[in-house]
Symmetry: D2
Subunit: 404 residues, 4 copies
């Protein structure tokens, strides 16, 4: 169902080949004004350099670059960390977390400019289309949505290059590109090339940020992270904001080969894909936070947090950020995380991140109780009654069975 009568469309524009072709294609096919919207989510200066000019060259009437890094960290990444969300046991949700922030800013711009449509450059096989359009549906269902990849006939980089040439739009893109990548301050993802066969190990050229464990220094490095109510506040005793902390830990982690992930994952749209991700800083922060949880959360709280994490990971992955369920799960995780204050020292060594030391004013660990002393609080004789009641149903069941 292609939409009709579009006058002004705000396009999530990256400056890459796809969105460069989308600008003229929109004008050709919808006879509309195209406004380029560029989200700075920490993808790096290289990608952002000259992006406005590129957009204008492609035919956009204007281009807005918006710095969303603090929003991304404070409103999505740090809250999500409190839930412990990791998708399918491995993926730290780097791309998934950026999408709602980008989509919300895009909607905001569209409403400010009186646009009547939104457009993104995601393919029809991936998760990102669902994340963008899920956000659009929740925030501005009255705006039309154009997804060129589900509509146009182009099916290769060469056909896009031909189209740009025909339109006399300059591009530095090449016809061959092995990997499809997506970067922000939290991670960089890689798909395509040799890893499309899960019986191939990823080659060295796939990784962009991190040294390999083999190339990492022979000497371990220790880093201290300090949290308040589940939020990272200091690195090595130095107070810093979230963006700066992640950037610092990305640098340290990359040096030590930390944060490489190689996963076959279930996409929301029903197929599996193979992806390699680098999340050096995120891997460190998550390890430290879980180390702190282990000191502070009681048993039932910790199990519940693990369940919330499973649920929240799917929710973020699926683009269900702007839903009541997200608010509810986050309320629960934030409530628990109020206790997560303390310091964790992690050891980084050739790809390993190990919690070496941890302490917290809210620690439930007590050397006195765990060892032989401290019997005002714990009397060994209490254990007998505990066990007898704890196993009572088993005993009754067995006694009944014996009677039969």
């Amino acid at each position: 169902m292609s939409v009709k009568n579009v006058k002004k469309v705000v396009l999530a524009y990256s400056g890459g080949l796809d969105t460069s072709a989308i600008v003229p294609w929109l004008k050709d096919n919808y006879d509309c004004e195209v406004i380029a919207f560029v989200a700075n989510v920490g993808q790096g200066d290289e990608e952002l350099a000259g992006v406005e000019q590129k957009a204008i060259n492609s035919g956009a009437s204007s281009c807005y670059v918006v710095d969303l890094r603090e929003e991304l960290v404070n409103e999505v990444i740090f809250p999500t960390l409190k839930t412990g969300a990791v998708y399918e046991g491995q993926y730290l949700l780097g791309t998934s977390m950026a999408r709602p922030v980008i989509a919300r800013a895009q909607v905001k711009l569209a409403l400010e400019l009186g646009a009547d449509a939104l457009c993104h450059g995601c393919t029809g096989k991936g998760n990102d289309q669902v994340r963008f359009e899920g956000a659009f549906a929740a925030l501005a269902p009255q705006l039309k949505v154009i997804a060129p990849w589900r509509e146009w006939e182009f099916n290769s980089r060469q056909s896009l290059l031909n189209y740009l040439a025909e339109k006399k739009i300059p591009t530095t893109a090449s016809a061959t590109k092995i990997y499809s990548r997506d970067a922000n301050l939290w991670h960089i993802s890689h798909e395509g090339g040799e890893i499309e066969n899960p019986w191939n190990e990823p080659s060295d050229q796939i990784w962009m940020w991190t040294k390999s464990p083999e190339q990492a220094p022979d000497k371990a490095e220790y880093v201290e992270l300090s949290f308040e109510a589940g939020e990272l506040k200091k690195v090595n005793g130095q107070a810093m904001n979230g963006v700066a902390a992640i950037e610092l830990l990305n640098a340290v982690g990359s040096e030590h080969g930390v944060g490489r992930i190689d996963i076959v994952e279930n996409r929301l749209v029903g197929m599996k894909s193979r992806g390699c991700y680098e999340t050096p800083g995120g891997t460190i922060i998550l390890a430290a936070l879980k180390g702190l949880e282990a000191l502070v959360y009681d048993r039932t709280s910790l199990k519940y947090r693990e369940e919330v994490g499973l649920e929240f990971a799917q929710l973020v992955y699926d683009g269900r950020w702007f839903t009541p369920l997200k608010d509810a799960l986050l309320a629960a995780a934030t409530s628990l995380a109020a206790q997560l204050t303390g310091d964790v020292v992690v050891k980084l060594y050739k790809g390993n991140v190990t919690v070496a030391k941890r302490r917290s004013p809210n620690s439930l660990y007590s050397e006195a109780f765990a060892t032989f002393e401290g019997d005002e609080v714990y009397n060994q004789k209490d254990a007998e009654g505990f066990i007898r009641l704890y196993s009572l149903a088993s005993r009754i069941r067995a006694l009944h069975a014996k009677k039969d």
Copy 2:
């Protein structure tokens, strides 16, 4: 409540200081015959050497050593692996899994010998007392249970040594022992010493099986594991039984610094403890199996398996092995795992275990579907309808809100 009128007791005997003292203490305090029961769960020849003689020297009327290694692997470890159970995100349940096998064999012996009581040497502060007595309650509630540590007055190694000296029972135990350890073919655990302070990093002397990542070889090693229906059948193409496979992978993993875990955990009895565990082979097998799951399980199956894993980990940790819930969870996990057939190549390097390659006849991954071709199965245009229905509740909610 100390039990009365015990005539013959079967003691889970290890040959260590505690159970050596328990033998004469039982005879003194209950005026009963004591039979020593030694479970061979792969703790190693060193611990088992001369154990019968030791038991007799301590005053046991007889000593039975039973090899439970195959039972442990085939009836507990391999089934548990299908559930993905890992306690509190880290602990591979080495001690927990051995307890039901030991307790069951101990009960069996007691029934064969017409004993009227069971005894174990677990302290009153730990989980193991619950695991033993939970099994006893389910299997033989009519037998009395004696837990000396909850009853006697000894409160130090020295007091036990003094008691043995007084009873003229020889022992090689020393008054000082830094760490409390428990080993079987799956793992070795360490508690006590400097790690009782979670702000201390474990020192090198704590680890017994594994090289440190720093000492591990500079060159990675690749190992191929082949599974059928979720059970490990071959290592590097070589068919072997479970015990042999674990022993082989323990050796390889230890060489590469794999499988060290340092955790603060919630004990069932309500307190926290700090433990260091080495599970080299187990860490490799679990990583490989999860790598295979990622290829084979669909999204809802995988999430369900993760939930089963959370539940099953607590169940095993808590000593609830002989319960209907265990049977039910295992039935579910076994049903899912019927698909888990395939090969996984893992890379071992200085503490890291990385899934490098995987393949399965039941793989849901299809290169054709994930990329641009394969549109008989997946049509990109299908995505539009999917997204519109997937986000329908959000759209309705937003439209309603706008009307207000």
Copy 3:
């Protein structure tokens, strides 16, 4: 995407207006042979009478009526009951459970006859299209699927009647029909008419099977149900198969106004709908089975069964019957239900179903333990130790907080 080159299609045919029109429409639009497939799932003789002739009159080349009642009960309904599945707290899944059985038989027929396509008459707004096509995808993905309601231009009963008149196909259908209904041996559902406004109470004319509570007898009736391993084996002491038992309990329940449900539910396709259901026998069986569970299941088993029920209800509702997750959940529920043997007496009175009496050889209830005696099994003093350990984390947390 309308499919092409269909030669022979098997249509799930009911004899109603929609499928009567689908036969000629398929021939017109696909130039193919149409085979009518009629599933007898207990919808009643009235609906089945003359259905073959109707199908032939509509232009079907042949018509197969297959009795699926025993399959439905033994392979779907009784297993589902063991999971405790009730959708959104109320709906006993009457229509949902029939679909996989119908779709599987339809596929079987199509494969036997060498058909190359399957067709159903479900609308594009409901759940049933997903259930049919979900089964088709799992059982015969190579067959084409035709869903006329998503394709054709008819949009009212009158337009279908006009089409039949034009084709000279006789029909007794009328242009106006207030309610849309679906019946099988488990339930009858009603949608449409005044209940499309949730601020309307259903009128009396909506209900087809059950007396209203007001019209039901003034005297209660007691019925005894006997289960073995979670399956209903006897009613009032009389052994009978599942189909007969459900028919008998439908009659008794209907007389007493039992089993009316009025629900606003979330459809899988993202919208809400209002439905009224009558499940008299099912309501009685489920109440009795839950009454038995309460006597037999321990606390953790019961909670787990409740979780399985939530999951399974969505799975059945969503048409995910032919999936590994269904097998896994059912394996778990069946394992637990092995204990569910016993008798339950329910009281039926003017819409109420109340468990009055229950007994089981596997009962964990023991009068002796619950009252003051029985202290061999339960010693009140045990409770102190239990409580002290059970609340230990709270005590430690509070003691720490006090120190600050």
Copy 4:
């Protein structure tokens, strides 16, 4: 472990036989001052009449009666309703919810008066001891706890009466009492007598508040409940506070035979018990609230709320009110319930509570979308894409299987 050196104890006093005997027993056995604390949780004027004098007569140095009804409703009952918590599918947690409120007020009084111990009259076989002592541990772990029923030798009502006679303390209690009951504004519970055999139907004499369905009026009554953010604000259009609303609905519900529950339940301490409960107002409120949820919650929110309800029911039942997990679950439920605004009309008739009508400004139900119109929001053709992606994993699995 009986505590020592108690100087001043605050006793949760009811005026019944047990606590009347506890006062002199405490003075005899601990040589301490005893302060009686009476919580008014809506148990009724009859129970409260003259209770101070009774306490003084028994030997208490003073008696404090505290009205906790508003706290109970606003801080426990209404929040708990938002979670949907119902224990083991039936029990509306009447006694469980009152305990934390009572225990907290008792602790508060003890701290104000400088007492050094707390005492309750719960038996050693029930849940209430855990609830009281769980609250004590969380709120005032430094205070000693005395539980006479686990300590003294009395084991019958007659022995308590003899003791009171010996102490010359007047009492109106009789030696025989069939049922043990507990009442507050939310419910009254009954245990003992003939219902200790689950094969007995409860006799008429057990019920205290409600008419039987048979005795209830022959004409139905409709009641309208209006909620804001999940909290009951009006009954039949009349604004009233929670206490008044519950009292009103108790009266109406009792008249119509509503809210009788007969359950075999798993106690936390490992045994089963049979209980009969009357919760007339609560049953009505819960039915109405669930009716509203069905209109307002989307599918994933509703499933999550059901899971929270399972968890929260155990938590409340177990006396884990003063824990971080309670705060977290409540934060989640409160977040979701922000949408629960609207009106529900329920029909009461001879024991049945039926939601007849419901409306909400946040309703996700839309007549337009659910029927044939409304295709701006829902296009039937969207369903094809939805289904194809929704069943993609099944299709891939089946295609792979065919290849083999």
